[in-house]
């Protein structure tokens, strides 16, 4: 596959190129792929590997001419979740970084628009993290609301 040849590493996975990179290699890799026909940035995904203590960021890029999909994957430390912003290469990365920042709490240095996106006034932990227990959260937030009007503790 072209992207694997260009970057000199990676493996094929279900018809896609899956390329594991170090954090400092990422920017050069995205630029190199963009110059070589991978001009469509598909999306930026984040996966929380709680047991391994890391976040995996996957940058999906697509080449219209070669019909090839490349997934550039990097790992960052879960306890020190800071990453350099890539929004200067593709403008729509800005929005994906906003969402990842909000949902996983990863800070993207260089992105000036890490403002609330889908959530508003959210003081709790980032909700897409694996250690955010939605059931427990719902119990704490809403269990005190009585089902029938006029019961004790009405309206929390």
């Amino acid at each position: 596959m072209k992207s694997i040849e260009l970057l000199g590493k990676g493996e094929e996975m279900h018809g896609r190129a899956y390329i594991k990179l170090n954090v400092n290699e990422l920017e050069e890799a995205i630029k190199k792929l963009k110059e070589n026909g991978f001009n469509h940035f598909v999306m930026l995904s984040c996966i929380d590997w709680l047991d391994k203590g890391k976040f995996e960021l996957v940058y999906h890029m697509w080449n219209y001419e070669e019909k090839e999909h490349a997934m550039l994957s990097i790992d960052i430390d879960r306890n020190n979740a800071v990453m350099k912003s890539m929004s200067h290469i593709f403008p729509q990365i800005e929005t994906y970084e906003r969402e990842v920042h909000e949902m996983y709490g990863i800070k993207f240095e260089g992105n000036t628009r890490l403002t609330p996106f889908l959530l508003e006034n959210w003081p709790h932990d980032p909700p897409m993290r694996k250690d955010f227990d939605s059931k427990k959260f719902v119990r704490q937030m809403y269990e005190s609301i009585p089902f029938i009007e006029g019961e004790e503790n009405e309206g929390i």
């Binding site: 996975m13 279900h14 018809g15 896609r16 899956y18 001009n39 469509h40 940035f41 598909v42 999306m43 995904s45 984040c46 996966i47 929380d48 996957v58 999906h60 219209y64 019909k67 999909h69 997934m71 593709f90 403008p91 729509q92 800005e94 929005t95 994906y96 609330p116 996106f117 889908l118 959530l119 508003e120 909700p127 897409m128 694996k130 939605s134």
Partner: protein
């Protein structure tokens, strides 16, 4: 002149769903626009991580309201990639028919709402009525009108009844006749020309870099369509041509990437979809419609990363599914076409636009907030 702030939405007939645009205006010219979403966030991606592989099917279809089938298809395709399954031929053809019927329904809805935004209120009444005839087909095939829960990993849920091809053919003939009326009232109407030509123009050299896909990209002159680039279902066995600027058939050709061209691409693709369905009905083989499933309660999907993409009526829909070999997915991430169209592209296109054109620019991009927020 003094600058004012103007909020459009989330409850406004000129907005494309439950979302809001915050505009800064000077006179009646927009100087800056900011998209504000969050009214529709249902946390599907988080919910999918705690449900079994099959339990996610009724969730994914709710990610795009006007065209739910693309979600079921993309999710199923990603799971099939991980499982290494080849689906039966008959299922591939039934999927093609369902996806194309859904595309026509979504285009009718898009054309209707667009026409409403430029003040031609006849078309929305007609197109929503015509869309219902397609929903009737879905009701006979799947038992549901909007969320079908029909395309499953390994095939489709039920076989197509023998009486259905006749109903489909009848409906297609009807829609084909109706398109002539749509042309008279909207697509060959002076009001449409005066309002839409040159408005909300996507700079074509920037279109791919901005992440524009689907009909909006084809309106810029790039003939890219996932159905041809990465054929799924039975598209590789069906003969059709991609509709792209400047080949607009009988319609006049004006500027690339403006609201006029974007809507005409949608209009022409209805005819293309009708052709695809007819071919698929003709070529459909007999046989099984679904593979034998493992026990859903104990179904473990092999470890790996899979990405499946389909062409929806709004653009490229992608599902990124990660499995660690367990009973539930580790991560399902959805790439909705409106994610880029609605935020990044729309904010840029609205700059410098007239307030009266804001709503038609948004409708001509066919933005759908459910797939931004999931």
């Amino acid at each position: 002149m003094k600058e004012y702030e103007l909020f459009i939405g989330p409850q406004h007939p000129g907005i494309t769903g439950n979302m809001m645009y915050h505009l800064w205006v000077d006179g009646d010219t927009v100087t800056k626009a900011e998209c504000n979403v969050g009214y529709l966030h249902r946390g599907f991606e988080k919910l999918m991580e705690s449900r079994l592989w099959m339990q996610n099917i009724p969730l994914v279809c709710r990610i795009c309201v006007p065209e739910p089938d693309v979600n079921e298809a993309a999710y199923s395709m990603a799971v099939e990639q991980l499982m290494g399954w080849e689906i039966p031929d008959r299922a591939r053809y039934i999927r093609t028919i369902v996806l194309e019927l859904a595309r026509i329904a979504a285009y009718l809805m898009a054309i209707g709402s667009y026409a409403g935004s430029i003040g031609i209120y006849t078309i929305p009444q007609w197109s929503m009525g015509d869309r219902d005839y397609i929903l009737d087909i879905f009701e006979q095939l799947t038992g549901a009108r909007v969320y079908h829960i029909y395309i499953w990993p390994g095939g489709v849920r039920w076989d197509m009844p023998a009486s259905l091809p006749r109903l489909i053919e009848k409906t297609l003939n009807y829609i084909e006749e109706r398109l002539k009326l749509y042309d008279d009232v909207l697509f060959e109407n002076r009001v449409f020309f005066d309002r839409a030509i040159g408005v909300g123009k996507i700079p074509c050299s920037k279109a791919i870099e901005w992440g524009v896909t689907g009909p909006n990209l084809r309106a810029c002159g790039y003939g890219y369509d996932v159905r041809k680039l990465e054929p799924y279902a039975a598209y590789d066995e069906i003969d059709f041509d991609i509709v792209s600027y400047p080949d607009l058939g009988k319609f006049d050709v004006h500027e690339a990437g403006d609201a006029y061209t974007r809507m005409l691409i949608r209009r022409l693709e209805i005819e293309q979809s009708i052709g695809i369905i007819r071919q698929a009905l003709e070529k459909m083989p007999e046989g099984e419609h679904i593979l034998k499933h493992p026990n859903w309660l104990r179904w473990k999907v092999p470890e790996g990363y899979a990405f499946a993409r389909v062409e929806s009526s709004k653009g490229e829909f992608g599902y990124f599914v990660v499995s660690n070999g367990g009973l539930k997915p580790v991560r399902v991430h959805v790439r909705g076409p409106s994610y880029t169209h609605g935020i990044n592209v729309a904010e840029r296109l609205l700059q410098g636009a007239n307030i009266a054109d804001v709503s038609q620019i948004l409708f001509s991009l066919d933005i759908c907030p459910p797939d931004i927020e999931r």
